[in-house]
């Protein structure tokens, strides 16, 4: 059996599933807010036009919700089948947030989504509005628990390894649920969904304007979408800055890969433009970036908010130079030493198990002491060379730039749309503006996906930072099985996506021919 193939296919399968899942989720979260805002306007003004608008966007929310719901369950199947070592090793730390998410998702969403859709004539307007806001709150809260679990993998805190159970045991729930990485990740992800939904509503409204259908409804929708999108992109940029600071502190290797930075310095520049030299390896003298145009001091500012701070590169980190959580330069443990410590912990863990079976308490205690002393670098024990702990530089580098460039474009777009949506000039009748909004729909999804590619590829090879690399986390199942399920999921998710787009387009087309606000 070829383990590397199993690892690679399992990773590809997880990436495929997560990326498809993230096509549906951000629209659900972001659109729920826009619908709630529209219904609030209806509730406060009593203007029936807003009720019609609310119902139109609520139906699109419902289509997306229905198609996307439960697609995340496939990820949980994959944990049990493809990542069984990981699933066991993380213990209740990963399971608890997912279980809470499941319960919240079921009770909050299933209850209040039903009131949203079925309750217009059956409950009071105030109760209905409350249900709509609770749905928006519920979907965001679901995201919180998922992102807590994800953040813990990138910054494992609040736990202790139990060698008898062979799993990490949660010792501090608040440290896990409120870690700075989790908090920042949650707000960054949720604000990005506001941006995405803003673009979606703006794009659909622009299409109706282009077809000269429901002009007033489209103008009003565009105005709400512009404000939500603008708030979303501003806050996404702000929390993105927080992400960069967090990454610099807790995952400096990800930051170095994101920049293709091998040898860091004080006052480190940011690569504004360039191509990754894929032949470059740690320790060699080849240039890392070709055709580079740099922004002076940019990376030092991004990482530490200090233009004269030091940012370690890949070679620095391998040799043992890093930053403290306060952002100060510090000599830390080299990767060669980490590998030695990881192997020591791994051997001691085996000895502990043997000693326990033999009933040799003294030997078990000695082995346990060694495990504890070396556990923080346990995962490095699976590497042969320090270079094995370096993430794929090119994909990390480019995904960061795709995210930033498309995010910058969306910021400009929303500033322009807010301005335009309040003017009664002919700008809103321009086809180029309509098409700019329409082509922005795929762009915002690309931006959103690029953010996740950066977050997840940049942390490779770790499933749990410093503790469990992918090759140790994976189950030894035949690669052929994983290839089969990969294809199965690719077909299933593509069909779901096609169904969603088809149902949405038909609905938008049909409704646009009637008076949406009636």
């Amino acid at each position: 059996m070829d383990l590397l193939s199993t690892v690679d296919w399992s990773r590809a399968q997880f990436a495929l599933t997560a990326m498809y899942h993230w096509l549906f989720v951000p629209l659900t979260i972001g659109l729920s807010l826009i619908v709630a805002i529209m219904e609030t306007i209806y509730y406060r003004t009593g203007d029936e036009r807003w009720k019609g608008l609310t119902k139109f966007w609520m139906t699109l929310f419902g289509i997306n919700f229905a198609i996307g719901v439960a697609t995340g369950l496939i990820l949980e199947f994959e944990f049990g089948t493809n990542w069984s070592n990981y699933s066991w090793f993380v213990g209740d730390i990963f399971g608890a947030p997912l279980a809470i998410e499941g319960i919240f998702a079921f009770f909050l969403e299933a209850t209040f989504v039903a009131v949203m859709f079925f309750g217009w004539k059956k409950v009071s307007p105030g109760f209905h509005l409350a249900a709509t806001w609770l749905t928006a709150f519920g979907v965001a809260l679901s995201a919180w628990w998922i992102l807590v679990a994800n953040a813990w993998m990138q910054y494992p805190v609040g736990m202790e390894f139990d060698p008898d159970q062979m799993r990490n045991v949660m010792t501090d729930f608040s440290a896990v649920a409120l870690s700075p990485v989790a908090v920042n990740k949650f707000f960054h992800a949720v604000f990005s969904t506001w941006t995405l939904a803003g673009v979606f509503v703006a794009g659909v409204s622009a299409w109706m304007l282009w077809r000269k259908r429901n002009v007033e409804a489209s103008r009003l929708s565009l105005r709400i979408a512009s404000w939500v999108g603008l708030a979303g992109i501003f806050l996404t940029l702000w929390t993105g800055d927080g992400s960069a600071v967090n990454v610099a502190k807790v995952q400096p290797m990800k930051l170095a890969a994101m920049e293709g930075l091998y040898d860091g310095k004080v006052g480190q520049e940011l690569v504004g433009f360039g191509f990754v030299n894929t032949d470059k390896r740690p320790g060699d003298s080849l240039p890392a970036i070709k055709a580079e145009i740099s922004i002076p001091y940019g990376l030092s500012v991004l990482a530490n908010h200090d233009p004269h701070s030091f940012v370690p590169g890949i070679n620095d980190l391998i040799e043992g130079v890093s930053l403290t959580p306060q952002g100060d330069t510090v000599n830390t443990v080299s990767y060669a030493e980490r590998i030695r410590m990881g192997r020591t912990a791994r051997e001691a863990l085996a000895e502990y198990g043997q000693a326990r079976q033999a009933g040799d308490d003294a030997a078990a205690a000695a082995a346990l002491k060694t495990v504890r002393e070396n556990y923080r670098y346990f995962g490095y024990g699976y590497f042969d060379n320090p270079e094995d702990a370096v993430p794929p530089v090119a994909m990390t580098f480019y995904s960061f730039r795709v995210m930033v460039v498309t995010g910058g474009y969306l910021l400009l777009l929303f500033i322009a749309l807010v301005f335009i949506s309040y003017r009664k000039t002919s700008l809103l009748e321009r086809s180029w503006l309509h098409w700019l909004c329409i082509i922005s729909i795929p762009l915002v999804w690309i931006c959103s996906q690029a953010g996740w590619v950066l977050a997840e590829v940049g942390r490779q090879p770790w499933t749990i930072q410093d503790l469990l690399p992918v090759q140790a986390a994976v189950s030894a199942i035949p690669a052929d099985n994983v290839v089969l399920t990969f294809c199965l999921f690719a077909v299933l998710f593509t069909m779901l996506l096609a169904a969603e787009i088809s149902i949405m387009l038909r609905y938008i087309s049909r409704k646009s021919k009637t008076d949406i606000m009636a």
Partner: protein, 86 residues
């Protein structure tokens, strides 16, 4: 009216009044059937769930994670659960 009956009528009348929803429900039912009846049962077994107790699962993971050569960077072969006998 009985509160449970009220809830039942709330949902049943809501479902009956759906227009786009009928197609959606078809998609949802086919999706859930595929996920749980086909994918979960036939293709995605819980590997550790095959073992009888948590103690055996812990021992299997210890065996997997501590056996030299398995899972190392250059490892091309492995035999985790398949060879493990509790």
């Amino acid at each position: 009216m009985n509160p449970l009956k009220k809830i039942y009528r709330f949902y049943s009348e809501g479902f009956r009044a759906m227009t786009v929803g009928r197609t959606l429900w078809l998609v949802i039912i086919v999706k859930l059937l595929l996920m749980f009846a086909v994918i979960r049962l036939l293709f995605m077994p819980d590997i550790l769930g095959r073992l009888d107790s948590d103690a055996e699962r812990a021992e299997a993971v210890r065996h997997s994670l501590t056996t030299p050569g398995k899972h190392d960077s250059t490892s091309k072969t492995s035999c985790i659960w398949i060879s493990y006998q509790p």
